[in-house]
Subunit: 332 residues, 2 copies
């Protein structure tokens, strides 16, 4: 952990939307450790990843506020007095966004608009970090994907996350509401929602590995991905929030090494003995598959000196340890 | 009027959202003339431009259905059996989108999502034409602006229109729901809402010219724009709907000649004697001003042979004639 990213949080007031979720809770725990006054806001929409157990280690040292961000009124009250706001609440399942696009629109666009409006009216001095997704790019035309790559989302989720990015950047530019957008790639680790299939293939494979069920890889398994262990993403969020040069900008996260999906599954096999096989792509997944992806995160690295420190094998091992210890709360 | 754009509409069932508005009603009148069975859908939200008088010439030959597109249920019924759907309903005021961004989001994003979902479920064989706006580009980095120009909207309206574009293109690609997006530039002409300031500076200047009030031009007046007379835009819409090669694509409209705003005002002065002056930009307008703009419409011209035929002076003269004849319904 760099000196820089750990400095300056003691005594700060921080709001984390989606703070009972996977990344939000990991960030909350770290911020509490750094001495911040943390409020986590979460709607606890069923099956979306919000889980009270996620903040168990710091349960008595933060405030939990259940609230649906589609409720503008509560949001206007909750943003008041906050120094930093990390906006992680959202619908993240690509499949769900196609099955219920209106809900995805409400949760990702309307809620984000409500947040920037609430800040503009009630707390224009706040600093915002919005977590977006590589999904805004759609099918990569060129690898690695830089922030200038055209955005052509292949699912409703990517479109709505992109619109939410734009709201933040517009409010930064127009109203000087300091906002930075991070486009996350495949993030995994402890506290991930792995009970159902809504948080991506890593969560699914982790659950299958833990249960000893056979892992089914869609396609050849040769499609490559970059993977970020959650602790590295938490550091990126802290750096983004405290680096003035980042405001008004969009940054990719990413990893120094990328892996074919099959290689990641082989690691799980080596760590757990889980069997695996490749199977043809189901039609509905094929429609929104993007092929190979890895991102260029050099712009963010240059601005903040951020570098991921946890390799894939190590991160998977740590994740499995965590989920074995807390089987009942996550998957059993 | 080209042969091609007038063929093939007799007996076709056509739904026009925003069909009591400026462009929607102009399209409706032309389609009725061509023998189509037209239903115009309009919410008649106050001050948005919907005006029953707009369809006066064909009042007995089309169906008017008042409906707010945020109402998914009615929409699912109304799309059934339609061959062509022109989606023109929307909030178009840049200033209003900043003053009430949530309403802009609802009217532009939610309504568009409701429409493509309604079609996917109830009428997947329909063909859709969505009218977007040059505002999605933001401040031009290079002129003329092509469709590949980066989208960096400078107001909420541009963001939400862009998201709505994406929904149409996604549904075209994913569900084969034939959709084409036209990015309109400054459209003007008879039936434009000129009573208030919500439909852009041309409407404002037309009203001031008609009333003999002095026209105030923000800035130097040297910023250039391209202008489309509404009849030319109607032809573009008809061509887009009937040219298979257009589906799944985004096209600029535009004009062969562009003009400084001051030149356009001088024409109004010559046509009406209205006085004019330049004044400094108000702060709230300055924030969302985009400087010079003119678009490259060669891609659409190549696909459809569309060419604007009405020059600015001629179009302004025709508009003034119309508005003088119908002063009470539009501005007096």
């Amino acid at each position: 952990m760099s000196e820089r990213s750990t400095a300056g949080f003691a005594g700060r007031r921080v709001l984390i939307t989606g703070g009972l979720g996977f990344i939000g809770s990991s960030l909350a725990i770290e911020l509490v450790r750094l001495g911040a006054h943390v409020t986590v806001l979460d709607s606890l929409l069923p099956e979306y990843g919000g889980n009270r157990f996620n903040v168990e280690p710091v349960r008595d040292r933060l405030d939990i506020n259940i609230c649906d961000m589609r409720d503008q009124h509560s949001l206007e009250i909750l943003v008041q007095g906050q120094d930093l706001i990390f906006h992680l609440a959202g619908q993240v399942s690509h499949g769900d966004s196609m099955r219920d696009p209106q809900l995805d629109l409400a949760v990702n666009c309307v809620s984000s608009m409500n947040l920037v409006e609430a800040c503009r009216r009630r707390n224009p001095g706040a600093r915002l970090v919005y977590t977006s997704t590589r999904q805004v790019y759609g099918v990569p035309q060129k690898l690695p994907v830089t922030e200038d790559h055209p955005a052509l989302p292949v699912d409703v989720n990517g479109i709505n996350k992109l619109a939410a990015e734009y709201y933040h950047l517009l409010y930064d530019r127009t109203y000087d509401l300091k906002s930075v957008v991070l486009r996350l790639t495949n993030t995994y680790g402890p506290r991930q929602q792995i009970r159902n299939n809504r948080q991506g293939f890593i969560g699914i494979f982790l659950r299958q590995a833990l249960k000893g069920e056979g892992i089914k890889i869609f396609g050849s398994g040769q499609q490559v991905r970059d993977f970020n262990y959650v602790d590295d993403v938490v550091q990126a969020l802290l750096l983004a929030a405290t680096t003035d040069a980042c405001f008004g900008k969009v940054y990719n996260l990413g990893a120094p090494v990328y892996h074919p999906v099959l290689e990641m599954v082989q690691m799980l096999h080596e760590l757990t003995g889980v069997p695996f096989e490749t199977v043809p792509f189901p039609d509905d997944r094929k429609l929104i598959d993007i092929g190979d992806y890895y991102g260029d995160y050099s712009r963010f690295a240059a601005a903040t000196q951020w570098q991921p420190t946890v390799g894939l094998r190590e991160g998977l091992a740590r994740s499995l340890d965590f989920f074995r210890t807390h089987s009942k709360e996550y998957w059993a």
